[in-house]
């Protein structure tokens, strides 16, 4: 399988996020991941970029948000970075069944990221913030002749 990396940068406005999502989905489909897995990768990346716009950039445009996608033999790594305000960290995954009678309106983005990715981490270096998400790829074995 071919490997490589790509970086996509958008301005911090929700109206641009779909471009990142479509690129992620198309690349994941090429790998190839299943339609469902490609959808989930798109979903997780869109949620991470949305969080950057809302929580780091406070819904203000003019801040670049970069999604770096690195494809290697056994995994795909997404790093979403911004230079906005740091947040305390990603919230822990709440129990999904606790609020069925009165479901909260918001707060599902990180749930989704954690559910569909194999690893999710957040760090800040004082200048920039980074959300790293990793999805392990199924190993394809080829027989030696």
């Amino acid at each position: 399988m071919r490997t490589g990396s790509i970086s996509l940068t958008i301005d911090s406005e929700f109206q641009h996020v779909f471009l990142v999502g479509i690129a992620v989905q198309q690349i994941c489909s090429w790998i190839p991941l299943s339609d469902q897995s490609a959808f989930e990768m798109e979903m997780a990346v869109v949620e991470a970029v949305n969080n950057s716009i809302e929580h780091a950039c406070h819904n203000q445009s003019g801040h670049p948000i970069t999604t770096r996608m690195k494809l290697s033999e056994d995994r795909i790594i997404f790093v979403i970075s911004d230079a906005g305000d740091a947040v305390i960290g990603l919230p822990e995954m709440p129990a999904l069944d606790d609020h069925l009678a009165s479901p909260p309106e918001r707060g599902r983005g990180v749930q989704i990221m954690r559910a569909v990715m194999d690893e999710v981490a957040y760090r800040t270096d004082g200048t920039s913030n980074f959300v790293t998400m990793v999805k392990y790829l199924p190993i394809v074995r080829t027989e030696d002749n």
């Binding site: 929700f14 469902q36 959808f39 979903m43 869109v46 479901p103």
Partner: protein
């Protein structure tokens, strides 16, 4: 600069009345943070205008994020049990997000408009679909 206000956002929504139910078909292929606020606002207006039996047709929606889910939860919360909001024909990928977030156990989801309208016309306890 702040993001554009909700009133400037566009949501392609086709609405029709069927008995005492209102069927709204989302014509957007993406229900995301860019489009969901407009859906939320429109649903709120419909409920405020007295439409308490609502069916939202999602068959054209190819992508949904947590903002899209939130818009629907907001409408359901606004109803406060006085009425219902049911969902129609989400694609498998979209349906998977309802399942992942357990919202498939909050909303009643039907494969087509006929079944959704029949359910809305019946007492909720008599028409719960498989979830």
């Amino acid at each position: 600069m702040h993001a554009p206000p909700v009133e400037n956002m566009i949501m392609e929504l086709q609405e029709r009345i069927d008995g005492d139910a209102l069927v709204a078909t989302v014509l957007e292929s993406r229900l995301d943070a860019s489009s969901a606020p407009a859906l939320k606002k429109r649903m709120a207006a419909l409920i405020k205008d007295g439409h308490h039996r609502l069916a939202l047709d999602l068959s054209a929606v190819e992508f949904i994020d947590s903002s899209g889910l939130s818009a629907m939860v907001s409408a359901l919360r606004q109803l406060q049990g006085d009425g219902d909001l049911v969902l129609i024909a989400p694609r498998n990928t979209v349906l998977s997000m309802f399942k992942l977030t357990r919202l498939d156990r909050v909303f009643r989801i039907f494969p087509d408009q006929t079944q959704a309208l029949a359910a809305l016309a019946s007492p909720i306890s008599q028409c719960a679909p498989d979830r």
